[in-house]
C-alpha cells in the first residue's frame, strides 16, 4: 500500500507540474507557433485573466463561469492590442518583442496604480483528499485533467475546423491564402486573440491558487518561455512533449531539492536541449517523420 501511495504522490507532483507548464504556455505557443511572434506581454494577459476571474468570482459568479469571463476579457484585450500595435510589426519580429515588452510595462504599472498592490482573490475550491499520510488538493487534479482537455480541444480546433484549416493555411503560405480569398489580417487578429484568451484562461485557472498582485504574470513567464523554447514552433509535437519532459525534471528536482532547484533545473535543461537540438523537440521529432 505504501508503494502505491508513493507512486500516486510522484504522479501527482508530475501532473501538477505538467498542467502548469501546458496551461501557462498554451497561449504563448499558439501566438509563436502560428505567427512567429514572441509575446512578452504574455504574463500580463495571464494577470488580466486572473484579475477578471477573481473580480467575477467575488461578484458571485460560479468559478467556471468566472474563469470563462477572464479568458474572454483577455482575448478582447488581445484583439485590441493586435489591431493597435502588433499588426504593424509582422515584418519585424524583434521589434514586436520590444513593443510587447513596452505593453507589459504599461499593463503591470497601470494595474498597480489603478487597483493597488494587491487584490482579494477567490479561495481554492474543492478542498482536498487524503491518501495515506498526505493530502492532495482536488483542484490540482482538476487542473491536470483540464490541461489534457485543453490540448485535445486545441488539436480539434486547428485540425478539424474551418478556422483551423484557414489559420494553418495563412501561416504556411500567407500570399496563397490571400489569393484564395482569405482575409489574412483578420486571421492574424483572431489568432492573437486566441493566444491572449488562452493566457487569460491560464490566469483564471490559477487565480484561486495564487495571490493577486500586478506582477503575478512574471511567475508564469519563465516556465512558459522555457517550454516553448524546448518545444519549438509546433504546439502538439513540440510544446506538449516538452512540457512532459520538463515536468519530470521539475517535479523530481523540486521533490528532492526544493522549488529553486526545480527552476534552475529547467534552465539547465533548456540550455542543454537547444545546444543538442536547435529546432527544439518539434524540429527533432519532425526529422523522424520524414
Amino acid at each position: 500500500m505504501d508503494f502505491f501511495h508513493t507512486i500516486f504522490s510522484v504522479m501527482y507532483q508530475f501532473g501538477d507540474a505538467f498542467a502548469f507548464l501546458v496551461i501557462s504556455c498554451a497561449g504563448l505557443a499558439v501566438i509563436f507557433g502560428m505567427m512567429g511572434i514572441i509575446n512578452l506581454a504574455h504574463g500580463e494577459f495571464i494577470m488580466c485573466g486572473a484579475y477578471v476571474t477573481s473580480a467575477a468570482g467575488r461578484a458571485g459568479l460560479p468559478l467556471p463561469l468566472a474563469i470563462l469571463c477572464g479568458a474572454l476579457a483577455a482575448a478582447i484585450v488581445g484583439i485590441v492590442v493586435e489591431r493597435l500595435v502588433i499588426r504593424h510589426l509582422y515584418q519585424r519580429p524583434l521589434d514586436s518583442i520590444i513593443a510587447t515588452w513596452g505593453i507589459s510595462l504599461i499593463a503591470t504599472q497601470g494595474v498597480l496604480i489603478l487597483l493597488g498592490p494587491t487584490m482579494a482573490g477567490v479561495g481554492t475550491p474543492l478542498g482536498s483528499m487524503a491518501l495515506g499520510e498526505r493530502s492532495y488538493s482536488i483542484y490540482r487534479l482538476v487542473l491536470f485533467a483540464t490541461s489534457i482537455g485543453l490540448l485535445g480541444s486545441l488539436y480539434l480546433l486547428f485540425y478539424r475546423t474551418r478556422f483551423g484549416v484557414i489559420s494553418r493555411a495563412t501561416i504556411q503560405k500567407p500570399a496563397m491564402a490571400r489569393a484564395l480569398g482569405v482575409d489574412t489580417r483578420r486571421v492574424y487578429g483572431l489568432t492573437f486573440g486566441l493566444g491572449a484568451g488562452l493566457a487569460g484562461l491560464a490566469g483564471g485557472l490559477y487565480a484561486p491558487t495564487m495571490t493577486m498582485v500586478p506582477t503575478m504574470g512574471a511567475t508564469f513567464i519563465v516556465e512558459s518561455f522555457v517550454t516553448v523554447v524546448v518545444g519549438g514552433a509546433d504546439i502538439f509535437v513540440g510544446a506538449a512533449p516538452a512540457a512532459a519532459v520538463l515536468a519530470i525534471i521539475r517535479a523530481s528536482l523540486t521533490a528532492w531539492y526544493g522549488h529553486l532547484f526545480g527552476q534552475i533545473g529547467l534552465l539547465v535543461a533548456v540550455i542543454v536541449v537547444i545546444r543538442v537540438m536547435p529546432g527544439g523537440l518539434s524540429g527533432f521529432l519532425k526529422r523522424f517523420q520524414r
Binding site: 514572441i38 510595462l105 513567464i221 523554447v229
Partner: protein, 366 residues
C-alpha cells in the same frame, strides 16, 4: 584625427603605423560622425561635462555620475543588439553577477592598497566569462532571433530568484553575507591609493571625473573596435549571416565574442553601480531592471554607438526626472515611449535625429 600624436624619432616605424591605423579607425563606416566639426562638438561636450561640477551642487553631481554608471551597459547592449543583431534581454544578469562579485571580493579583502580596483577588474572578468559561457551555448547551439531573447531573459530571472532566496547565515562567501531579497550592502567604494591618505571615491565630484574619463575612453575605444575588421564582420553578420559565413567567417565565434564584450560592459556597469551606492539587490536582475537597458538603447538608437551613448544618458535623465514627479507613472511613460519608438522611429529617436542633422548639414554645405 589623422595625425599621430608622437614624433617619428620617438617610436619605431611599425608601431607608429599601428597607432595611426587604430587612430584612423576613430572614424569609419560603422560609426556616425566624422570630420573636424563632429570632433569639435564632441570635445565641447566633454569640456562642458568637465566644467559642469563647478556650477552644480554635490547632489546633482552624484546624480550625473549615476547616469554615467549605466552607459557602459547601454553601450554593450548597443554592440550586441545594434551592431551584431542579437537581442539580449539578459544584460542585467551580468550586471548583477558582477555587482555581487565586487561586493563579495571587497568585503573579504578590504579596500587597502587599491584592492578595490583589482576587485573591479575581477568582477568584470567574471561577468564577461559568464557571458562568454552563455554565448557559447547559444551561438554554438545555433539559437537565433527571438529565442536568444528568451534564453537571456530566463537566465537573468533565474539569477534573481536564486539571489532572492539566499537569506540566512548559511549563505555567505567568506565574510560576505548574501542577504537574500534585501541584498548586500556595506562594501567599500572604489579607493585610489595615494601617498598621505587614500582617496575614497564616494558619490561626488571625484567619482564624477573618474567616470567621465572612463566613459570617454570606453566610447573612443569602442569606436576604434567597431571600425576595425572585427566591427565590420559584426555588421556583416547582422546584415546577412549566411553571406558572412560563406565568406569564411566563423560567425559563431564573432557573435560569442561580441556577446562576451557586451556582458563585460554590463558587468562594468554593475561593478560601478555597486561601488557607487554600496549596495546591490536581486531586483537589479529582475524583469523591470532588465527592461530598462532595452528602453534606453531602443529609444536612443542602437545602430550607432554615439546615438546609444547620448540617447541612454538623455533617457536615463528623463526617467530620473519623471521619477521625482511620480515614480509610479515613470514606468508607464517608459513603456509608452518604447511602443512609440518601435512604431514610429524603429532606428531610435536620437539616431533618427542625428541622421536628419547630418543630412541637413551636408545639404547646406552643397
Amino acid at each position: 584625427m589623422s595625425n599621430a600624436p608622437n614624433t617619428p624619432e620617438q617610436i619605431s616605424h611599425s608601431s607608429r603605423s599601428t597607432v595611426s591605423t587604430w587612430l584612423a579607425r576613430l572614424e569609419g563606416p560603422q560609426t556616425m560622425g566624422r570630420g573636424p566639426a563632429f570632433w569639435v562638438a564632441m570635445a565641447a561636450l566633454v569640456l562642458a561635462a568637465s566644467c559642469y561640477p563647478a556650477f552644480s551642487d554635490p547632489y546633482t553631481i552624484g546624480n550625473a555620475a549615476y547616469f554615467m554608471v549605466w552607459t557602459f551597459m547601454a553601450m554593450g547592449l548597443g554592440i550586441v543588439w545594434g551592431y551584431c543583431g542579437v537581442l539580449s534581454f539578459g544584460q542585467t544578469a551580468f550586471f548583477g553577477l558582477a555587482g555581487y562579485a565586487y561586493g563579495v571580493v571587497t568585503i573579504n579583502v578590504g579596500a587597502a592598497f587599491g584592492l578595490t580596483w583589482l576587485a573591479l577588474v575581477l568582477s568584470v572578468a567574471i561577468g564577461g566569462a559568464f557571458a562568454l559561457l552563455i554565448g557559447y551555448f547559444m551561438f554554438y547551439g545555433r539559437i537565433k532571433g527571438v529565442f536568444i531573447g528568451i534564453v537571456t531573459l530566463s537566465v537573468t530571472l533565474v539569477l534573481e530568484t536564486f539571489m532572492a532566496q539566499t537569506a540566512g547565515p548559511n549563505w555567505r562567501i567568506g565574510d560576505a553575507r548574501l542577504n537574500g531579497f534585501n541584498g548586500m550592502s556595506g562594501m567599500p567604494p572604489l579607493t585610489v591609493p595615494w601617498p598621505g591618505g587614500d582617496i575614497v571615491l564616494y558619490s561626488g565630484t571625484a567619482l564624477y571625473f573618474v567616470l567621465l574619463a572612463m566613459v570617454v575612453v570606453c566610447y573612443l575605444g569602442l569606436r576604434m573596435l567597431l571600425n576595425a575588421p572585427f566591427g565590420n564582420v559584426l555588421v556583416a553578420i547582422r546584415e546577412n549571416p549566411e553571406r558572412a559565413e560563406m565568406l569564411g567567417y566563423d560567425i559563431r565565434l564573432y557573435q560569442t565574442l561580441a556577446f562576451g564584450l557586451g556582458g563585460a560592459l554590463a558587468a562594468l556597469s554593475g561593478t560601478l553601480y555597486t561601488a557607487w551606492g554600496q549596495y546591490i539587490t536581486p531586483s537589479s536582475m529582475g524583469l523591470t531592471a532588465a527592461a530598462l537597458p532595452i528602453v534606453w538603447v531602443a529609444v536612443g538608437g542602437r545602430r550607432d554607438i554615439t546615438a546609444t551613448l547620448l540617447g541612454s544618458i538623455l533617457v536615463i535623465a528623463g526617467f530620473q526626472t519623471l521619477t521625482i514627479y511620480g515614480s509610479q507613472y515613470a514606468l508607464i511613460v517608459m513603456g509608452a515611449l518604447l511602443v512609440f519608438t518601435v512604431l514610429v522611429a524603429p532606428d531610435g529617436l536620437i539616431a533618427t535625429a542625428m541622421d536628419w542633422i547630418g543630412r541637413t548639414l551636408r545639404r547646406t554645405k552643397r
